[in-house]
């Protein structure tokens, strides 16, 4: 068991810097998810921890030992790849035993560990099959098993669920979480799917363009996004970001037209701001209440909710309403939200303005 410390790490390919000074702490036994859009550098970072990419500048240490110059096999890590990287010409058992054989582990010990991992993952009856005879979910489990038998200090996952269909992904998500709860091994997990991040992580690290936008507990990121990027990246459907003007006094913001929303932030100077409101925090309000008048463009009733796309000036606003509404496309409705649910961001830096409430 060990923690992972990443200190001011840089990486460039030729002229292009893909990692621009990143520091992450993954305390012992934690499940840390690196999330961000594709090309943000999250996979590169993971591959540097694995030793598959060189580190240009900065240090990475595992359990207090700097591993910049250590061979991948000596880092005491195990990695699970998006496409599983199972050896197609070896059976499940041989795939799982592979690294132990290379390390000249005694046969009996190998057999014991493979059996144990197979038991944990429910693979016992598939041990003699070849990867191509397995379903996607089973292959995913074999890839997990290959990591588990090594009993490493750190697990690295590179988008392990991306190749699965939606239903299986939800199921494997729960299984992974369960396995982590049992093994309690430090885990770094890369994904572009913020729902995976929200549901599995102890700590989420949001990356964008080679830098860390924000790191913290899932709900912390949801409730207090540090900037507009995190605001719109975490949460689905994405947060509405509306340009507005703060009058500087009574906690009101004028948006396009005559619309007004309230916010709970103290001491915001007068001037332009970006106002962020999550679709699920919008509701239809009385005509005389504060709110924004929008023209409905599409309605998507999902049964439990109604997803509304509506037009405010030339901007599209989405709202996730709890009730079923009678409006038709073209109708005007008035949407409002509670002041504490209004996030304010600086119009220039796009950073969060103070804390709400």
């Amino acid at each position: 068991m060990a923690d992972v410390q990443i200190r001011d790490v840089h990486k460039a390919y030729g002229e292009v810097e893909t990692i621009k000074g990143v520091s992450v702490d993954a305390p012992d036994g934690q499940f840390v998810v690196l999330v961000g859009p594709s090309g943000c550098g999250k996979s590169t970072l993971l591959r540097m921890i694995a030793g598959l990419e060189e580190i240009d500048r900065g240090t990475i240490s595992i359990g207090g030992r700097v591993i910049n110059q250590v061979e991948p096999k000596n880092r005491d890590i195990a990695m699970v790849f998006q496409n599983y990287a199972l050896y197609p010409h070896m059976t499940v058992a041989v795939n799982m035993a592979f690294s132990l054989r290379l390390a000249r582990t005694p046969k009996a010990e190998i057999a014991r560990r493979v059996a144990e991992a197979a038991r944990i993952l429910g693979l016992t009856e598939y041990l003699e099959r070849y990867p191509k005879q397995l379903s996607g979910g089973q292959r995913q489990r074999v890839a997990m098993g290959r990591a588990i038998v090594r009993n490493p200090q750190v697990y690295l996952f590179d988008e392990p669920l991306s190749n699965l269909d939606a239903k299986l992904r939800v199921q494997m998500r729960a299984e992974l979480k369960d396995i982590h709860a049992r093994l309690k091994t430090t885990t770094l997990y890369v994904t572009h799917d913020q729902i995976e991040a929200m549901t599995m992580a102890n700590t989420i690290v949001v990356m964008h363009d080679g830098v860390i936008e924000q790191a913290g507990a899932p709900l912390e990121l949801y409730d207090h996004p540090a900037n507009t990027f995190v605001g719109s990246f975490i949460g689905s459907p994405a947060m509405n970001l509306i340009e507005g003007h703060c009058d500087g006094q009574n906690g009101a913001i004028k948006l396009a037209g005559e619309a007004v929303v309230r916010h709970g932030v103290h001491g915001v100077p007068a001037g332009p701001v970006i106002c962020g409101i999550r679709p699920e925090h919008l509701a239809i309000v009385e005509p005389d209440a504060d709110g924004i008048d929008v023209v409905v463009t599409t309605l998507e009733p999902t049964g439990s909710d109604t997803l509304v796309q509506a037009r405010l000036g030339d901007q599209i606003i989405s709202a996730q309403l709890r009730e079923r509404i009678a409006a038709q496309p073209g109708d005007m409705i008035r949407l409002g939200s509670a002041p504490e649910n209004t996030h304010l961001f600086d119009a220039k830096t796009e950073r969060r303005l103070a804390a709400t409430g």
Binding site: A50, L52, K73, M79, F81, Q82, H89, L102
Partner: protein, 293 residues
């Protein structure tokens, strides 16, 4: 079938879902292809048949495919006159060694060029690709003098000198590695603690069985059918490959058709048999020559 909506049901054969017309077309095509196929192999079939015929039967019209009075005289006299078996043995050894050399060099270099990204390697790859279009005939004269200065004319090593490497083989393996072996597989092995040589031998090679088989068959037959190079490298009758031996044998003044056919048949029958057995490997290999990046 869409036709059945508009046309009367008479045209549709019940249960088969195919119109009578379509069946007639297929039958016609089958007949055409069948006849064409027979015609394509007929010259070879007749040649082999001739090998077993008596001189009288050989000039009979129409030619018979199964000899009325089969005889082995032709073979007996060819074997008496020429070192045919020795030529075949030389060709076999030459082809086998060439195959081994090409499979080894192509697999290693093809793998490295596919999976190790360094600027220098790109240059090497382009160089290899560029020389691939240069026909052997263009550079075989200087190569001959190299063989001469090494003193390996009239030997199997001289033959081999021209058939040690195959640009296309390198290209074929590179493409296959690129398309069928994901980087993650190699990375997983590195994390698992495997050395580079080990990865190549135990992971890459087993996964390349198909293309390596195709390449082996291709390179073997390339050497087996080689003509221009063997004819300049070998000048003594005992060192000929079967192709050269046959070609020079058939220019002889006194050689009759029966013995010529027997000699040719002795070469054709085994190689066609091997081809029919290895057809899949062959087709895969040849087909991949046309596949571009």
């Amino acid at each position: 079938m869409s036709d059945s909506d508009q046309k009367p049901a008479v045209e549709t054969v019940p249960g088969l879902g195919m119109t009578a017309r379509a069946r007639l077309t297929n039958l016609t095509i089958d007949i055409v292809l069948f006849v064409f196929g027979i015609l394509m192999v007929l010259p070879l079939v007749l040649l082999v048949a001739n090998a077993f015929k008596t001189p009288q039967e050989m000039v009979a019209w129409p030619p018979t495919i199964i000899p009325a009075d089969p005889t082995l005289d032709n073979f007996r006299s060819v074997l008496g006159e020429t070192p045919l078996l020795r030529w075949i043995w030389t060709s076999l050894r030459f082809s086998f060694l060439s195959m081994v050399a090409i499979v080894i060099t192509s697999s290693i270099v093809g793998y490295v060029l596919a999976k190790f990204q360094f600027r220098t390697l790109e240059v090497i790859f382009i160089l290899i690709l560029a020389t691939a279009i240069v026909p052997f005939e263009v550079y075989m004269i200087p190569l001959y003098f190299q063989a001469q200065s090494l003193g390996i004319l009239n030997s199997i090593w001289g033959l081999l000198l021209g058939y040690l490497v195959m640009s296309f083989g390198i290209f074929l393996i590179r493409q296959n590695v690129k398309h069928s072996i994901p980087d993650e597989l190699l990375e997983a092995a590195r994390i698992d603690g495997a050395g580079e040589l080990w990865i190549f031998a135990r992971i890459v090679l087993p996964l390349l069985r198909g293309p390596l088989g195709a390449l082996a068959v291709l390179s073997f037959f390339q050497a087996w059918t080689a003509f221009a190079w063997p004819i300049i490298v070998t000048t003594s009758r005992d060192a000929y490959t079967i192709e050269v031996g046959l070609a020079l044998f058939q220019t002889g003044f006194t050689v009759d058709l029966g013995r010529l056919s027997a000699a040719a048949a002795a070469v054709l029958v085994p190689s066609v048999t091997i081809f029919v057995i290895l057809r899949r490997n062959f087709v895969q290999g040849i087909a991949s020559t046309g596949v571009k990046e």
